[in-house]
Symmetry: C2
C-alpha cells in the first residue's frame, strides 16, 4: 500500500479545497486574483503549499462595541466590528466614500472644521481607514525548505516574515496605513467623519502608491522563489516581473491536469509517517 | 582548556555590550527602561539572549526626498527622513505639537479647513504620525527553545511573531497607528499640517490607549516566559504583572554580580564548537 507522509496528506487536502467551488473561510470567500500566480508557483513545488493569502487591500472599518457591563475596554477592536468598505482592486479605491454614502445603513456627516472631534469618548467606535499589504502563509515540507523560503522573502524586503510552528512561513511586509477618520454616533445612527473629502483624497492617493509598491514586491518575490526555490530560469515563462496571463478556463484545465499528476505522484511515493 | 559553544560566545559578547557605558546602535542610544525587566528575565536564562528591543513609541516623522534625477520614486520613506518627535514615555505624548513649534528648525502652519491638501504632489514629503508597539528580538540556543518562545509569544497575542535565521525569534504585535498629518513645504521651510489640533488630540488619546494595551501585553509575556520557559513560580518575585522596582544602582550592582557568575559558569563549561 502506498503511504503518504504527513506533509503530503496535508498538501493534498489543502489543494482539494482550493480547487473546490465552495467559498473559503475569508470574508471574501475566494482567493484574491492577484495572488494566483505566486500561489500556483509555490504549489507547483513538491515541498511547499500555500495555506492563506491576501493580495493587499484598502478597507474602511467600523470598530465594535468596547463597553461591557458599563466598563470600557481599553484598546482592541471590540465586538461586532463591521467592514464598511473593502477592496483588493486598485481601480476601486477612488470613490469609496460616494459608494458608502449610497449603500450604507448609516447616515453620513462630514465635518471640515473638526468640531465633531469634541464628541469622542473612551467608548467611541472609531471608523478606521486601512491599507494592508500582501501577506502569504506557506507550509513547507521541512525546516530546511522553510528556512530557505524565509531567507528569500527577507531578501526581497518582506522584513516582518517569520517561521512559525510546523514549518509554516508567514511572509509579511510593513507598508501600512492605519488612520482614524471618524466615529459612529449611535444616537443618530450617523457615521461622523472628522476629516473632509480632501484629506480622504490624500489617503486614497497614498493607498494607490502602496498598491504599486506592493505589486512590485510581489513580483520580485515571485521571481526570487522561481529562481532560488524551484531552480527555474527567469526567462522560462515570466520575464522581468511580468506574470503570464491565463484565462480562467486555461487555469481550470491546468489545475485539473496538475491534480491528476499529483495523485499519480502521491500514489507512487512510499514515505512512512 | 574550557571551550564555549557558539551560542555562549555570542551571548557573552552581547551582554558585555549591554553592560557597557557606550551608546548602542539605536537612534536613542540606550535600552528603553520599560524593556529592562523582560530583558533581564530572558537573559537570566542560559538558553536565550536579547539582541534588540523597543518598548513602544509615538513618533512624528518627516519623510525624506523621493525624487532622484528628476524621477519620482513611488513608495518608501526616501533619503534624509527625519524624526521631528519621538517618545517612549506615555507621559510625554500630550504636548508634542507645542514642543515641536518651539524647537523645530521649520516653521509650522496648521490649517483647519484642509485647503493645504491641494498642494500635495507625487514627490511630497509627508509628515507621518506613528504609534509603534513593543518589539523584541531574542537569540535562542537551539530551535527547540526558539520554538517554545515563539509559541508562548503567540499565545499572549503577539500574533506577528516569527522565528528567523539562527534561532532568532522576533516578538511582534500589530497595534499601530500610521497617519499622514501634513507635509513639508520646501520653498518656505514650513511644516504644513492638514489636520488641526483637535484631530491631533484624538491621535494622542488613541496612542495613550495603545501604550496601556502594550504594557499589559508586555506584562503578560513577562509572566508567561517566567512560568513556561524559566519554570519560576509567578509569585517568586513579580506578582500578577507588577514588575519589581529597582534603582539604577541596584541594577548595576546586580548586573555586576550576574556577570561574574556567568564568567564562572562559562569557565566551567566544556561544550566544543
Amino acid at each position: 500500500m502506498a503511504v503518504q507522509n504527513a506533509f503530503e496528506q496535508k498538501k493534498k487536502a489543502i489543494l482539494n479545497e482550493i480547487d473546490s467551488t465552495q467559498p473559503d473561510l475569508s470574508p471574501k470567500g475566494t482567493i484574491d486574483e492577484l495572488c494566483l500566480p505566486i500561489i500556483d508557483l509555490i504549489n507547483s513545488s513538491a515541498d511547499m503549499v500555500t495555506t492563506s493569502s491576501c493580495s493587499g487591500r484598502v478597507s474602511v472599518f467600523l470598530e465594535g462595541t468596547k463597553s461591557y457591563n458599563g466598563e470600557v475596554k481599553i484598546g482592541g477592536k471590540g465586538q461586532g466590528g463591521k467592514w464598511l468598505y473593502v477592496t483588493h482592486d486598485r481601480g476601486k479605491v477612488i470613490g469609496w466614500l460616494d459608494e458608502l454614502r449610497s449603500k450604507s445603513e448609516f447616515l453620513l456627516e462630514i465635518s471640515r472644521n473638526q468640531d465633531l472631534v469634541e464628541k469622542v469618548t473612551g467608548s467611541t467606535r472609531y471608523i478606521l481607514y486601512k491599507y494592508e499589504p500582501f501577506i502569504l502563509h506557506v507550509k513547507c515540507r521541512d525546516f530546511q525548505v522553510a528556512s530557505k523560503l524565509y531567507n528569500e522573502a527577507m531578501s526581497c524586503g518582506f522584513r516582518e516574515s517569520g517561521i512559525g510552528s510546523n514549518n509554516l512561513v508567514a511572509i509579511r511586509i510593513n507598508i501600512k496605513l492605519d488612520v482614524p477618520i471618524g466615529y459612529l454616533d449611535e444616537d443618530s445612527s450617523t457615521l461622523k467623519f472628522f476629516v473632509g473629502p480632501e484629506y480622504i483624497n490624500v489617503l486614497d492617493s497614498l493607498s494607490l502608491n502602496k498598491f504599486d509598491e506592493n505589486t512590485k514586491k510581489m513580483q520580485a518575490l515571485y521571481e526570487k522563489i522561481k529562481r532560488e526555490l524551484l531552480n527555474k530560469s527567469p526567462n522560462s515563462n515570466a520575464k522581468t516581473g511580468v506574470i503570464p496571463a491565463e484565462t480562467k478556463e486555461e487555469r481550470r484545465e491546468r489545475k485539473k491536469k496538475e491534480g491528476m499528476e499529483r495523485q499519480r505522484q502521491l500514489k507512487s511515493t512510499s514515505n512512512v509517517l
